[in-house]
């Protein structure tokens, strides 16, 4: 499973978990957690028995946790109980038993950590094979657009750093090198798990290149991350499209030399209309327009799907925080502060951060861990409430 691979890479995770496992709700000795694990195990085996193919994704996700749980139980059986120990008369034998137990306890601890990691990934939202990533310049005019462009570059490098494929379907720049907005499709099964924490308002504080009197400005740009679930399929049938160009009726082909590049497409079943005229080639504009239509239909479908499952929706709004700033990039003090991190949300070396490599990744990783933990705790609470 990829998530496991992903988690293994994270070094800091391990330490955090250890510290964390000792606090109450997620301690392994916690009864709620124990019974929750047992219920997962039962779900897993009942799914396996009647694996009709429908629930295979759930099965695959449970696989890691249940596997870890089984290993844990096997290890537990190896530990000699206190009674047996007391019953043993031979001193040497008892010492040997004690030694063995120490080794197993150690292994057990490791296994618990591994299991908790698996459990944490399980608390993630659904998996999405792709997502729509949007960068929009916010308040602050030209300066905001310049900042949007820097953010855009940062994320492009980050996609490369993470090895995700992406495809751009809208990009509008300004003449001084700013960016009005850009829409990208990012492919990668784990991409959403990382990028969803980037959605929100990003704030910049600096003396803009456009500023003549040296004052510090505050501007914003926003990021939106819209998931594209595996079961969201938008099929656009050729016959459902009304493709309009500017050309009047009359002879075509070699008879005329019209450039005729702008394209407007109406999707007849939904009445959605899209336009594209940013390219000189008509075919390119048509491809662009169809992509836009695709994205719009997808968004529509996602919105209705999300509305139906209130829990998902609430959870997403909870972490997207569209209306508040999530991070500040302060050039004057050469720092980045993430406002969602309680302690130590500030990092220095801003330019390194904007490279979109390890520094950004580390911050997202941290947000991800905190989010997963709180989600698991919340889940455990509601879960036991259901049971009782």
């Amino acid at each position: 499973m990829f998530i496991r691979k992903l988690l293994n890479v994270r070094s800091q995770c391990h330490l955090n978990l250890r510290r964390w496992a000792s606090t109450d709700p997620l301690s392994f000795k916690n009864e709620k957690l124990q019974s929750y694990l047992e219920s997962l195990r039962q779900e897993y085996y009942s799914l396996r028995v009647n694996a009709a193919g429908n629930n295979n994704s759930r099965l695959a996700r449970l696989d890691g946790v249940v596997n870890a749980l089984e290993k844990h139980r096997a290890l537990q059986r190896n530990i000699t109980s206190d009674e047996d120990m007391a019953a043993e008369k031979d001193e040497d034998m008892r010492a040997l038993m004690q030694e063995e137990n120490n080794v197993y306890t150690d292994l057990l601890q490791k296994q618990e950590d591994a299991m908790l990691k698996e459990l944490l990934t399980l608390s993630d939202d659904k998996l999405y094979p792709a997502l729509i990533f949007e960068v929009n310049a916010g308040a602050g005019g030209q300066e905001a657009m310049l900042f949007a462009h820097e953010l855009y570059n940062m994320y492009i490098s980050y996609f490369d750093y993470m090895g995700w494929q992406y495809e751009e379907f809208a990009h509008e720049t300004t003449d001084i090198g700013g960016l009005r907005h850009a829409n990208l499709l990012v492919y990668g099964t784990e991409a959403y798990q990382w990028l969803c924490y980037e959605a929100g308002v990003h704030r910049v504080q600096r003396v803009p290149a456009t500023e003549k009197s040296g004052r510090i400005h505050t501007s914003t740009a926003s990021i939106a991350v819209i998931p594209r679930p595996a079961d969201a399929h938008v099929h656009i049938a050729e016959r459902d499209l009304k493709i309009e160009t500017k050309r009047a009726s009359g002879a075509g082909g070699q008879h005329v030399n019209t450039t005729d590049s702008a394209v407007r497409i109406v999707h007849l079943p939904t009445g959605l209309a899209v336009e594209a005229q940013s390219e000189r080639s008509q075919l390119k504009n048509r491809e662009l327009a169809i992509k836009r239509l695709h994205a719009k239909l997808m968004q529509q479908q996602l919105e209705s799907a999300e509305a139906s499952t209130q829990a998902t929706r609430k959870a997403q709004q909870g972490n997207q925080n569209r209306n508040e700033k999530i991070r500040t990039y302060n050039f004057v003090q050469d720092r980045v502060t993430d406002h969602r991190v309680q302690h130590g949300g500030t990092h220095h070396n801003l330019s390194g951060f904007l490279d979109g490599g390890q520094q950004l990744s580390g911050l997202i990783e941290r947000l991800q861990l905190e989010h997963r933990q709180s989600k698991l705790v919340a889940l455990l609470e509601t879960w036991s409430a259901d049971k009782n």
């Binding site: 082909g253 070699q254 075919l283």
Partner: protein
């Protein structure tokens, strides 16, 4: 007959070419300041009307193309409202010359010296046929049909600027293309475009005029291909009076004239295909509005046992214009 029609337009064209190469046009704007900059939006003043009066359609797009060319910027990076864009005096002079040329109905693609076709950008040259938007749709169809074929030996008859062959090569790495072209200028341009696009290793172009019993140049006379594509001249001779001035004056009419029924050159291509397609190989043609049913009849009557009509297709304007034939 169309010579008479052409003459006044040719005169206009010559004077345009002269003004294109001549000194900068002086206007009240240019004379107002030496090295100062002028906002593009101010420079645009009045040109939209002038272009419209000259019969140019889609004026906004024309102006945007010219502006981005003058500023040497990629078309898709120039904002529609030209906000904050400025010309210097030299650029302004260029801009006005180009607009003047466009008013004289010089094709936009010739004025800016390049054009986008599907995913590639091609250089254009006077007299060489400029590919049309419909041809993009045609090539898209052909690519769709060949994207999963392992290897394709392709021949294009009459490649012009190279648009069709080069975009095939660009889209499909498994294609090797050979082209024949009767115009020397076009042959040179196609080769230049191939080199500019870095596709020249899989592309060959021969300057050759197709004739009865000498369909292919000597060095290719025994060659066989899997696929032949062509956008042959298909304008009927009596339709020449309806052509746009951009076409009549600036394009090589050899690239358009299809004889009395528009299929004179297409018939030569049929013959060529009989001799140079492998059995099962396909011939794809882009033709005029009424041609596909006609081609179907011709295949039934004259090519029994040699070529068969596979299907016809519509362009993006819902006109039945493309045909696929198969070598028996």
């Amino acid at each position: 007959m169309f010579k008479y029609l052409k003459r006044p337009l040719l005169m206009a064209a010559r004077s345009t070419v002269r003004s294109l190469s001549g000194s900068a046009a002086t206007t009240s704007i240019t004379s107002s300041g030496g090295g100062s900059l002028i906002e593009v939006n101010k420079a645009l003043n009045g040109w939209e009307h002038k272009l419209k009066d000259a019969g140019v359609r889609d004026t906004e797009f024309n102006l945007k193309c010219i502006v981005s060319h003058v500023l040497q910027r990629k078309f898709n990076t120039v904002p529609d409202d030209f906000a904050q864009l400025k010309f210097n005096a030299e650029q302004l002079a260029d801009f006005e010359r180009f607009c003047e040329a466009r008013c004289a109905r010089m094709p936009l693609q010739h004025i800016i010296g390049e054009w986008d076709f599907m995913d590639i950008t091609l250089k254009t040259a006077p007299t060489v046929f400029i590919p049309r938007p419909e041809t993009e749709e045609f090539v898209r169809l052909v690519i769709e049909n060949y994207k999963n074929v392992k290897h394709v030996d392709m021949l294009e008859v009459g490649c012009g600027s190279g648009a069709m062959s080069l975009s095939m090569l660009h889209a499909l790495p498994q294609v090797d293309a050979t082209a024949i072209e009767r115009s020397k200028a076009a042959t040179a341009l196609a080769w230049e475009n191939a080199k500019l696009l870095g596709l020249h290793q899989r592309f060959k172009v021969h300057n050759h005029t197709m004739e009865e019993d000498k369909y292919m140049p000597e060095e290719l006379k025994d060659k066989q291909y899997d696929l032949i594509i062509s956008n042959p001249p298909y304008v009927k001779t009596d339709e020449f009076q309806y052509l746009h001035p951009e076409v009549v004056v600036y394009e090589n009419l050899n690239a358009l004239d299809g004889g009395s029924d528009g299929l004179r050159v297409a018939r030569l291509v049929f013959e060529l295909a009989c001799r140079h397609l492998r059995p099962g190989g396909k011939l794809w043609l882009e033709l005029g509005n009424e041609h596909p049913p006609l081609v179907k009849t011709i295949m039934h009557l004259q090519y029994q046992g040699r070529l068969t009509f596979v299907d016809s297709y519509f362009d993006q304007y819902k006109r039945e214009r493309f045909v696929q034939l198969e070598k028996v």
